[in-house]
Amino acid sequence: MDTMLFMADVLVPALLQGLVITLELIVAAAPFGFALGVVLAVGRTYGGRLTSYLCRAFVAFIKGCPLLLLLFMLYFGLPSAGISFSPFVAAMIGFICCNAAYNSEYIRGALLSVKDGQMIAAQALGMTRLQSIWLIVLPQALRRAIPGITNEFIYLIKYSSLAYMLTIIELSGAGKIVATKYFTYNETFMMVGAIYLVLVTITTVSADMIEKKVAVPGTTGR
């Protein structure tokens, strides 16, 4: 088969289909991973003893568990306990947990770096603790956590390929199927790799732009 023809008729359509699934996974998981990360970080930093402990335990569990194992437990393990998810939902839950756990650590570090006095000053003005966190500490912490959160988002792009192990034909899986069928391993995997590289580059550039846009004049280093 002619290479150009193979590219046009087989490889590109297959990879595009896979890419759509990959993007769906990422776009669906990232916002929840971010939000849950914020909740875990705030809970651990400012929560009571029990809340703090629970957040810490959750993060420790996720950090200690290989993502692939987590996905297997969610998809293959839980049905025997009477809980079944579709492959997509199982993958989503796994990705969200993983993304959130690591995000929470970046955010927690950023929360701790905001000067204590601002929290005190906010409360001295009559703000509740929650208002002080939400209006004063968190907006500053999130700015500082952008580089870490971006990193984690890039990991998410790449570990979304593990969804293939739950029968989801995302980008890597689509490539694997085409490559095996047509014995075009090099062409196919290089193409797949190139697409990931583009995704990661777009992420990095966007994150840089966001970081510059939200930078507080006079504080953030260039």
Partner: protein, 252 residues
């Protein structure tokens, strides 16, 4: 219990950290328009006392009353009382991610529920009071220490407090910036703002205070008007304390 002529009553405040007694039964009353200045050696509980008044530090025992209502043991109503007691800190503690005017208006909007437009107007007015209107759109990192402290004073004043608490407002500033901030506080005193000021600025203390409270070892050791403390032989410790500063100034 409550005596109507006093806007703020502080009764037997005690606070210890472990074995260290920081405040050992401190009591005093404040009339509307009073300027009470707390002086004394470092580590004698002056700052802790201010923080116990608005419960940023919870005292071990003792009570605080504002306009006849108990501030201590007030549960979630403490957030209301804190609005009524503006606080200014040694290190300003401006909100770093907000412009000067946003620093002043945010609590008006989020705590008092004031409409954004009205809050902006009031915030600008308060900034004008402290001579910072032209800097409204600047961020804290772009301000000098004296400017930042003036913004923080405007931020506290915007809540229309009954009492202002100044916790060493000029200790982080060089002499020139100190002067610009003290000027603002002096004007407030002249305009009848009720305030408690912890300071090491003896000249300021003697010129502005209705009453100077000399603290030592967690207690109010001596208290009286500046004239009394400086002339009456009964108040030897305060005089010696202030005298140290004067001698030092003369040597310079």
């Amino acid at each position: 219990m409550h005596d109507d002529e006093y806007i703020l009553k502080v009764e037997n405040i005690r606070k210890s950290y472990g074995q260290t007694v920081v405040l050992d039964s401190v009591s005093f009353n404040v009339r509307k328009g009073d300027t009470k200045v707390f002086i004394g050696p470092s580590g004698t509980g002056k700052s802790t006392l201010l923080r116990c008044i608005n419960q940023l530090t919870v005292p071990d025992s003792g009570r605080v009353w504002l306009n006849g209502e108990e501030v201590t043991h007030s549960g979630s109503r403490i957030n209301y009382f804190r609005q009524k007691m503006g606080m200014v800190f040694q290190n300003f503690y401006l909100f770093d991610h907000l412009t000067a005017v946003r620093n002043v208006e945010i609590a008006l909007i989020k705590v008092k529920g004031m409409p954004a437009k009205e809050a902006r107007k009031k915030a600008l007015l308060e900034l004008r009071q402290v001579g910072m209107e032209d800097w409204a759109d600047h961020y804290p990192a772009e301000l000098s220490g004296g400017q930042a402290q003036r913004v923080s004073i405007a931020r506290a004043l915007a809540m229309d407090p009954d009492v202002m608490l100044f916790d060493e407002p000029t200790s982080a500033l060089d002499p020139e910036l100190t002067r610009e901030v003290l000027e603002v506080i002096k004007n407030l005193a002249r305009d009848g703002t009720t305030m408690l000021v912890v300071t090491h600025e003896m000249g300021f203390a003697t010129s502005v205070a209705n009453e100077i409270l000399f603290m030592e070892g967690g207690r109010i050791a001596e208290q009286g008007s500046p004239q009394e403390l400086l002339s009456d032989p009964r108040f030897s410790r305060t005089k010696n304390f202030i005298g140290q500063f004067r001698e030092f100034d003369r040597e310079m």
